[in-house]
C-alpha cells in the first residue's frame, strides 16, 4: 500500500460511467430471452424430424413403395397396402401443374419486365398476381371446382388438381422469375441490342440463359411447395386407391393420402401415414437441396 496506484485517477473517473448491476442483469436477461426464443423456435423442427424418422422409417419397405393402399382400414389382419398410387399420383399431378404454370409464370414475368414496365396495365397485373399470392390454398380448389366441375356434369380428375396447383404456383413462379430477371444486368441486354439482335433473340439467347440457374432455383422451390399442398386437391383430383396414370380420372396423391389416413382408427394405417409423410418430406427436401445447390452456382444472385 505504498505508492498510490497511478491508474487510480482514471479509474475513479471511469467509475462514474460504469455499468450498474441492474443494467448488466437486464442485458444478460435480454440476451438469454432472445437465445431462449430461438431455441424454442427450433424445438418443433427437431421434434418433427425425430418423429418423422422414428415413426416413418419403420413403415418404409419395398412393399410400401410398390403396393397400392387397399382401403382396408378396419381389419387388423388384412394388409393395408403401401402408398404407390399416392407417389405416382403426386408425381404426375405436380408435373402437369409445373408444365402449365412455369411457362406462363415466366411469360408473365418477362412481359412485366420487357414490355409492360410502368404502364397502368402492368401495375394491375402485378396487383392481381400479388392478390393470388395471398389466396388460401383451398380457394384454388374451389375455383377449379366451380369452373370445371359444377354444372359440367364431369367429376374429379387428376388434371383438374393440376390446374388448381398451377394456379397456386403461378404467383410464386412469376414473382421469383421477375426478381431474377431483373437481376440480369441491363448492360448485357444493351450490348446484345446494340449488336442488332431483335428483342426476342436477346431474350431467348441472352436474358433467359443468364437467368437460368436463378429461375431453376425459384421453380424448384415452387414445385416443392406445390407437392406438399393438400387442400387444392381435395375437391379436384379426388382420391382413389389404385394406381392410375390417367390424369383424366380420379387420382391419388401423397398429401391427400396422408390426410385421409390421419382420421383412421387403425394403428397400422396411422403408421402408413407417417411413412407417407416421411416420403413427402424427403421429396420436398431433395427439391430444396437441389434448388439451393443451383442457387449457389448462379452468377446472378
Amino acid at each position: 500500500m505504498d505508492a498510490l496506484d497511478p491508474t487510480a485517477t482514471a479509474r475513479a473517473r471511469l467509475a462514474r460511467h460504469s455499468l450498474s448491476a441492474a443494467r448488466r442483469r437486464r442485458d444478460g436477461l435480454a440476451r438469454g430471452t432472445i437465445l431462449g426464443g430461438t431455441i424454442l423456435a427450433l424445438i418443433p423442427l427437431a421434434l418433427i424430424v425425430y418423429y418423422l424418422l422414428a415413426k416413418g422409417l419403420g413403415s418404409w419397405s419395398w412393399s410400401f413403395f410398390t403396393t397400392d393402399p387397399t382401403g382396408n382400414t378396419f381389419f387388423k389382419s388384412s394388409s393395408i397396402g403401401g402408398v404407390k398410387s399416392a407417389i405416382v399420383g403426386t408425381i404426375e399431378i405436380v408435373t402437369l401443374a409445373s408444365v402449365i404454370s412455369i411457362p406462363i409464370g415466366i411469360g408473365v414475368a418477362l412481359w412485366l419486365i420487357e414490355y409492360g414496365r410502368g404502364s397502368w396495365f402492368a401495375h394491375t397485373v402485378r396487383f392481381f398476381i400479388d392478390v393470388l399470392t395471398g389466396v388460401p390454398s383451398i380457394i384454388f380448389g374451389l375455383f377449379v371446382y366451380i369452373a370445371l366441375i359444377v354444372g359440367t356434369g364431369s367429376t374429379y380428375a387428376g388434371y383438374k388438381g393440376s390446374i388448381a396447383l398451377a394456379l397456386l404456383m403461378l404467383p410464386v413462379v412469376t414473382r421469383s422469375a421477375e426478381v431474377i430477371l431483373l437481376l440480369v444486368p441491363g448492360s448485357l441486354r444493351e450490348a446484345a441490342l446494340a449488336l442488332g439482335a431483335p428483342r426476342w433473340k436477346v431474350i431467348w439467347s441472352v436474358v433467359l440463359p443468364t437467368a437460368l440457374p436463378g429461375l431453376a432455383t425459384g421453380i424448384l422451390l415452387a414445385i416443392a411447395r406445390a407437392a406438399g399442398e393438400t387442400a387444392p386437391l381435395l375437391f379436384t383430383a379426388g382420391a382413389t386407391f389404385k394406381t392410375n396414370t390417367n390424369l383424366s380420372q380420379f387420382m391419388n396423391s401423397l398429401p391427400v393420402q396422408i390426410y385421409n389416413d390421419v382420421t383412421s382408427p387403425t394403428n397400422a394405417v396411422v403408421n402408413r401415414a407417417w411413412g407417407a409423410a416421411l416420403t413427402l418430406v424427403a421429396m420436398i427436401l431433395v427439391l430444396n437441396i437441389i434448388a439451393r445447390l443451383i442457387a449457389r452456382r448462379s452468377r446472378l444472385a
Binding site: V131, I138, V179, G228, L234
Partner: protein, 342 residues
C-alpha cells in the same frame, strides 16, 4: 439517304424485312395477351365464386350469414360466426405466440449470433417452411396435442376464473392447439421479414448507441427495434394472412365443431376447415353456404394482405430511400417457397 446504303432492290440496309420483325411482334403481343388472360381468369373465378355463394347470401343476408351463430346442416340453417371466430382466434393466437418468438430468432441471427452460426441457424428456421401443412397436422394431432393435454387441463383448471380460457374439459383437437401449430407455421415468414429489416439498420445508428456506452441489449432497444418497428409489423401482418388462410393443419387440429366455441381448449372450427370437412358431400344450400364461407375467407385474406403490403412497403421506403432494391416494388416480403437464394 446515301446511295451506298441502298441495296439492289431499293431497300435500305437499315430496314429489316417485315417478316423478320414478326417474331418480335408475336412475342410482344403474345405475352401481353397472356398477362391479360391471367387477369381475366382471376376476375372470372372471383365472379363465379360470388355466383355460387349467392343463394346462401340471398337466404340469410350477407351480414346474417357472416355473423349468424347457427350452423346446422340438417335444418339448412347456416351462420358462419363459429367458423369466423375460430379463424380469428387461431390466427390471433398464432400471432401472439409466433411473432415474439420469430422476432427473437431474427434478433439472434442478426445481432447476437456468432458469425459462423448465422447461416446454419437461418437455414434451420427456413426449414420450418418446407414442412407441408398436412405433416404439421399429422405431427400435431399424434404428438403435440396429446402431449399437451395434461398441461392444458392444468391451466384450464387453474385459470377457471377467466371466462372462455379456463374451466372446461380439454379435448385433444382444440382451438388452442390449432393456434399453436399455426404459430409454428408462421415462424419462418415473420422471422425472414424481420431479419431482412434488421439487416438494413444502418451501422451508424448502432454505433451511435454503442458509442454512448450502451450494452448490446440497450443498443438493440435504442437503435434496432425502433427502426424495424414498421417492418416487423408488416411481417406480422403477412404471417396473419398466412394463418388465416391455412387449411389442412387447422382442420386436423381444431375439431370441426358446428356450435359457437365454448372455451379455448374445446373444439372449434374455422372458415377453411369447415369447407375441407363438409364440402365433399354437400349439396344445394349447404354447398352454397360453403362457397359463401370461402368468399368471406377470401375477402378477409385480401384485406389483411393488402394492409400488410402497405405497411412493409412504407417501412422500406422510409428507411431506404436510396432504393437499392432492383425490384421496382421494393424487395417485398420473400415468397418463401419461390425466392431463390433463400
Amino acid at each position: 439517304m446515301q446511295a451506298s446504303t441502298l441495296r439492289a432492290g431499293g431497300r435500305s440496309t437499315l430496314e429489316r424485312p417485315p417478316l423478320a420483325r414478326l417474331p418480335d411482334r408475336a412475342l410482344k403481343y403474345g405475352l401481353t395477351a397472356l398477362a391479360a388472360a391471367i387477369l381475366a381468369l382471376i376476375v372470372y373465378f372471383f365472379f363465379r365464386l360470388v355466383g355460387e355463394a349467392r343463394p346462401a347470401f340471398a337466404k340469410f343476408g350477407v351480414l346474417g350469414f357472416t355473423f349468424g351463430q347457427d350452423w346446422n346442416v340438417s335444418a339448412e340453417q347456416f351462420g358462419a360466426l363459429p367458423m369466423l371466430l375460430g379463424t380469428l382466434l387461431t390466427s390471433g393466437l398464432a400471432l401472439l405466440i409466433g411473432v415474439p418468438v420469430a422476432v427473437a430468432t431474427a434478433l439472434y441471427a442478426t445481432e447476437l449470433c456468432p458469425a459462423r452460426l448465422r447461416s446454419p441457424v437461418t437455414v434451420l428456421i427456413e426449414l420450418l417452411a418446407a414442412v407441408p401443412s398436412v405433416v404439421y397436422g399429422l405431427w400435431g394431432i399424434f404428438y403435440l396435442a396429446p402431449k399437451l393435454q395434461s398441461p392444458e387441463q392444468w391451466i384450464a383448471d387453474r385459470l377457471s376464473f377467466i371466462p372462455f380460457v379456463g374451466g372446461g374439459l380439454v379435448t385433444i383437437p382444440n382451438i388452442f392447439n390449432a393456434g399453436l401449430i399455426l404459430a409454428i407455421m408462421i415462424l419462418p415468414i415473420v422471422s425472414a421479414i424481420s431479419r431482412e429489416v434488421m439487416s438494413t439498420v444502418p451501422a451508424d445508428h448502432k454505433e451511435a448507441a454503442l458509442g454512448l456506452g450502451a450494452t448490446r441489449w440497450e443498443m438493440i432497444r435504442l437503435a434496432v427495434l425502433p427502426y424495424c418497428r414498421g417492418g416487423i409489423v408488416g411481417g406480422a401482418m403477412l404471417g396473419l394472412g398466412r394463418a388465416i388462410g391455412e387449411t389442412i393443419a387447422v382442420t386436423i387440429l381444431i375439431g370441426g365443431a358446428t356450435q359457437m366455441p365454448t372455451h379455448l381448449f374445446a373444439q372449434g372450427n374455422s372458415l377453411a376447415a369447415v369447407i375441407a370437412n363438409e364440402f365433399g358431400e354437400a349439396e344445394g344450400l349447404h354447398r352454397s353456404a360453403l362457397f359463401a364461407a370461402g368468399l368471406v375467407l377470401f375477402v378477409l385474406t385480401l384485406f389483411v394482405n393488402a394492409i400488410a403490403r402497405v405497411i412493409v412497403l412504407r417501412a422500406e421506403r422510409v428507411h431506404a430511400p436510396q432504393g437499392a432494391a432492383q425490384d421496382p416494388r421494393g424487395p417485398g416480403p420473400p415468397a418463401l417457397a419461390g425466392t431463390p437464394g433463400l
